[in-house]
Every structure is written in structure tokens, then in C-alpha cells.
Amino acid sequence: MTELFRWQWVFDHLEEIRAQGLEHLQLTLLAVVIGLAISFPLGVYAHRHRAFYAPVTVVTGVLYTIPSLALFALLTPFFGLSFVTAEIGLVSYTLLILIRNVVAGLDGVPAEVKEAARAMGHSDRQVLWRVELPLAVPVIVAGIRIATVTTIGLVTVTALIGQGGFGYFILLGLRRFFSTPTILGAVLSVLLAVIVDRLLLLVQSSLVPWERRREPSAA
């Protein structure tokens, strides 16, 4: 009988766990930041120019449905077993969620608030930056949270192209028929997702102080 989980193995590999955790975080954050840098202007543009929204959703939707394994395999001939290959794949999976939430967040701004802003003499750009975007923050951050949690899960797949963060342990365990690293990789990946999600929730509520006071008597 082999043990399901050997703690001693974990203690022997602490340094490696730390390094892979850092890589996992790097792969994730970079993908979400780049994804947001692409999605934000596209979402703002699609909100204003509705005809543009459908094709954007189709393209990012198709990207989203490609199996991750296939996508990384298809990219490898061009970019090798590299960080770049991993990032291209990870970024493309964030786009659909992020663009959709940018557009939905802007759509959710009440019409009378926008009109009042215009009527008081905000220019179009001022309406966007001072009124629409601050009010869209909760929905946009919700999108960032989903995209981040999804990406943290996907990063493990990039272990197959020599990246992978905690995915490295999952793969290691599978190759050696040794359950400890597989379980460790999976649990740490989930743990990372939960922690990052909580942190983003904190960021969100610090960005929208007015939301916390919606119920005057709650305190």
C-alpha cells in the first residue's frame, strides 16, 4: 500500500514549492493585466459603437471555446515551449469575460445619471471617466475576479509546455504515478485562487466606498 499523501515529500520540496508558486502568480497576473489592457479599450469602444460588439464577442467567444491543450499545442510551433506561448493562450482566455464585463458595467450605469452628468456640462470624455467608469467598477472587478480565478486554474495546464507553476507538481505526480505532488499541486492551485479572489474583493470594496453604505441602518 502506498500512502496517498506523504507530508515528508512536501517538507523536502519547500523551496521548489515557493518558486513554482511565484511563477504561478506571475503567469496569472501578467495574463490578467495584459488581458485587461486589451479588453478595456475594446469594451469601452464596443459600448459606444454597438455594431462592433457582436464581432468582438464572436472572436473572443471562439477563442474561449478552443480546448486549452489544443491551443497550446497549436502555438508551440510558432513560439516554442515558452513563457510567451503560455501567456498568449492565457491572455486569450481572459478576453471574453473581461470585455463582456466592461460592456455590462457601462451598460448598467443609470440613464438619468448619465443625462444629468451631460446636462451639468461634462464633456463626453468626462462623462466616461468621472461618471460611467467609476460606476462600472463593481461589474468590471467582478469580471477581473472570474478571469483571474479561471486563469489560475488554466496555468496548471501550461505545465505541459514547460511552464505551469503548481501544474508542474500535478504533472510530476502523473508521470511518476505518485499522488503526493499531484494532490499538492491541485490543492495549492485552488488555495491560490481563493486567496487572490478574496484580495480582489477587498480591492473592489475599497474602490467603491459608496456601495458599502447602501444600507444606512446596517451598521
Binding site: 443609470p110 443625462e115 444629468a116 446636462a119
Partner: protein, 267 residues
């Protein structure tokens, strides 16, 4: 002060124009109330004054200049605007809301703060409310903040679209009274939109009664509307055949007295 000349507005996809060939002169320092049933284009008419809506034809002149020749952003900063749902910015505190237009106009911090103090005193708002968010206020308080915000840069013109429509009758009456008192001091040119005839009679120096499709049926002082309605539509709309108004007219034959009685609640 404001002059609409044969103004027509047709929205695409509708057979009947929202406003048809409307000509009205709104004199300086008066409250002109646009009143009529829904679909009479009263709000559309008001929005053409600050270019939230562009007329299909005709001209709108504000302070002697065709609005089509004015930059809409700076035009709007010079015209106060209050709407039914107030449109306070939910992400900004009361103080930040009131300070919106002065900030847009680039006032200094100290000038902005002084003005905000003045305004909350003028509108009888508690200074403790300044750091609250709009959703923490009562309906009446929100309306006051809306009026304070509209008055912030002391614009000569105010546009008010059913400003007291979303509050209960008692609060509405108090807000109406306060606005009339304020107007005694400020002498703004106010365009006031409502569907409530009683409110129109109470608030107006002149009433413009609009029919569906933005057709002007009568434009006159409240006592003239009551004593000399221009046509059947006005008679029906004002509701002369019913209730208190008729009684007062029969007994005293004195529309001015009736208006004084209605206004009496103001003091």
C-alpha cells in the same frame, strides 16, 4: 431670455413630431411652467434649451445667441438642471455632487468650499449630510441637494423637469414653497416641467399648455388660463368643470383670489 422660434422635433421612426412649430418667449426672471399630458413634448422642449436634444428645425435663442452656435458643454454649465430622479451621482458624496459644476468650471478649492457652505445654508440642509452618499438621504433631502447643485455656479437660467415628482405630497408642497421663496430673492429664469396642473398654477408666472405632439394650446398667466381658457382642450385639461377651482370661481369669480389662496400656502 429664452426664445423658441418655430421649433420642431421629430424623432426617427415616429409619425407625429414630438414638438411642432413651437414658438414661446420666456422672459427674464420668470417661472414658466410647461404643462400637458404625457406625449406633449414638454420635456423634449426643455431639453432643446440646453441642447440635450437638437431641434429638427427652428431656432432656440438663449441670452440673445442661437444655441446651435454655442458650445454645448459651456452652454450647459451656465444653465442649472434639476430632474425628477434628481440624477445625483451615486458615487459622489453630497458635497462632491454640489461641487460638480464649480469644479468643472475650474474654481479654486476655497471658492468651491465657500459656495457649498452658502448653498447648504440657502437650502436648509444640515452640514452633517455633506459627507453622506445620495442613497443615504431622504427623497426631500435629495431634491434639495439637486437644487443646490443646479444653483452652484449661480446660473441665470434653471431647467426643472418634474423636480418634485418623486416625493410625497407633503414634502412636495414644502419644496414648492421653498423654491418660490428662493425665487423671490434669486429672480432666476426658470423653465419648469410638470404634468400636474395644480403645481403649474402654484408655481408659474406663465403657463404654457401643450397638447400631444407638442402643440401649444395656450400661453398665459395662471389667472388668464383659469378665467379665459383658449379652447376646450384647456378647459378639460385644467379641469375647470370640477372641484375646488370651479367653486372658487363661481363664488368669488375671482381667479386671482384662488391663485393667492393656492400661493398662500407658500408663506
Amino acid at each position: 431670455m429664452i426664445s423658441l422660434q418655430r421649433v420642431t422635433k421629430s424623432f426617427p421612426g415616429t409619425a407625429q413630431p414630438a414638438v411642432s412649430e413651437l414658438t414661446i418667449d420666456i422672459p427674464e426672471g420668470e417661472i414658466v411652467v410647461l404643462v400637458g399630458p404625457s406625449g406633449c413634448g414638454k420635456t423634449t422642449t426643455m431639453k432643446m434649451i440646453n441642447r440635450l436634444v437638437e431641434p429638427t428645425s427652428g431656432t432656440v435663442v438663449v441670452k440673445g445667441v442661437d444655441v446651435a452656435d454655442q458650445d454645448p458643454v459651456s452652454l450647459r454649465r451656465g444653465i442649472g438642471y434639476v430632474i425628477q430622479h434628481v440624477g445625483l451621482m451615486p458615487h459622489r458624496t453630497v458635497a462632491q455632487n454640489v461641487e460638480t459644476v464649480p469644479r468643472l468650471c475650474g474654481w479654486t478649492d476655497s471658492a468651491v468650499r465657500d459656495r457649498t457652505k452658502e448653498l447648504i445654508a440657502m437650502l436648509d440642509l444640515d452640514a452633517a449630510l455633506l459627507d453622506r452618499y445620495p442613497q443615504e438621504l431622504s427623497g426631500g433631502q435629495r431634491q434639495r441637494v439637486g437644487v443646490a447643485r443646479a444653483l452652484a455656479v449661480d446660473p441665470p437660467i434653471m431647467l426643472m423637469d418634474e423636480p418634485f415628482g418623486a416625493v410625497d405630497p407633503i414634502v412636495r408642497e414644502r419644496l414648492q414653497d421653498e423654491l418660490l421663496q428662493l425665487q423671490q430673492k434669486l429672480r432666476k429664469t426658470i423653465v419648469f416641467v410638470t404634468h400636474d396642473v395644480d403645481e403649474a398654477i402654484k408655481m408659474a408666472d406663465r403657463i404654457a399648455i401643450l397638447n400631444v405632439g407638442g402643440v401649444l394650446e395656450q400661453y398665459a398667466a395662471p389667472d388668464q388660463i383659469l378665467t379665459a381658457p383658449a379652447n376646450d382642450f384647456v378647459v378639460r385639461f385644467v379641469g375647470l368643470e370640477r372641484g375646488l377651482k370651479k367653486l372658487a370661481l363661481q363664488q368669488g369669480g375671482d381667479a386671482k383670489g384662488l391663485i393667492a389662496a393656492l400661493r398662500g400656502r407658500a408663506s
